[in-house]
Symmetry: C2
Subunit: 120 residues, 2 copies
DNA sequence: CTGTCGCCTGGAGCGCGCTCCAGGTCAAGA
DNA sequence: TCTTGACCTGGAGCGCGCTCCAGGCGACAG
């Protein structure tokens, strides 16, 4: 059930350096250590890391991620705030997708235009 | 019909510094200058800049943008390569959107889970 | 005639998110 | 016993895409 840093990194798809960085900046507080100081990741740590990574990959900046991590540490009372934060992120993803689709439309128009010119 | 740097920046929605930077790195070669060395943007320059900006905003890295700008300067013979480049970018936008939707799914599942816990 | 404004240049600096490095500890295998 | 390998730390460095700065120039307003 516990994972070494290398296993954790492999499972989530990040580098060990990223894991250490996340701990350093307060995104992953409370990860246990073994007798010689090496990190030991629980299943729960992994899912936390996975969620953080998912939020990060979908565009959440580190500062916001830190806020989320803080709320996670705040226990049950912060569940509402966590939900609100995720809901806002959800909306931001929608907006980003909409924006990408607009840009894609323009790209496609340009492609169509190049094609129409090609067949003179 | 011609625009000053400030007007060009305003119309496209970038800073003058960005315009200068784009010229410096070869994305906007061939912009004319007036008698004292100030840039003069034609309608065509604006649409070029606008397209570059659109590609950039939709995630194309500068190196690729540079390649595209080179092709633009290559004239009619490069139209096919330009089209190919834009088509690939179009696919990349699709992939990025798909990825975002996956991540959004996970975010929504987490929200749903928080909600289900809240109503114990 | 003196601001002030918009622009010019080359080059330094910045914010983000890692990534790499030097130097060290311990454990297990040959 | 020696080596290899995974991990540790603090801190420097990096790649990207701008952004800002100092110092200067010409045009136009008061």
């Amino acid at each position: 059930m516990p994972y070494t840093p290398g296993e954790a990194a492999g499972r989530i798809g990040v580098s060990i350096d990223t894991i250490r960085y996340y701990e350093k900046i307060g995104l992953m507080n409370g990860v246990e250590r073994d007798s010689v100081g090496r990190r030991v990741f629980s299943e729960h740590d992994l899912s936390r890391l996975g969620l953080l990574r998912c939020l990060r990959d979908s565009g959440m900046p580190i500062a916001r991620l830190r806020r989320f991590a803080e709320l996670l540490e705040g226990g049950d009372e912060t569940a509402g705030q966590r939900t609100a934060l995720l809901e806002e992120h959800d909306r931001e993803i929608d907006e980003k997708v909409a924006q990408l689709r607009l840009e894609q439309k323009r790209v496609r128009e340009k492609i169509a235009w190049y094609r129409s010119v090609a067949e003179h």
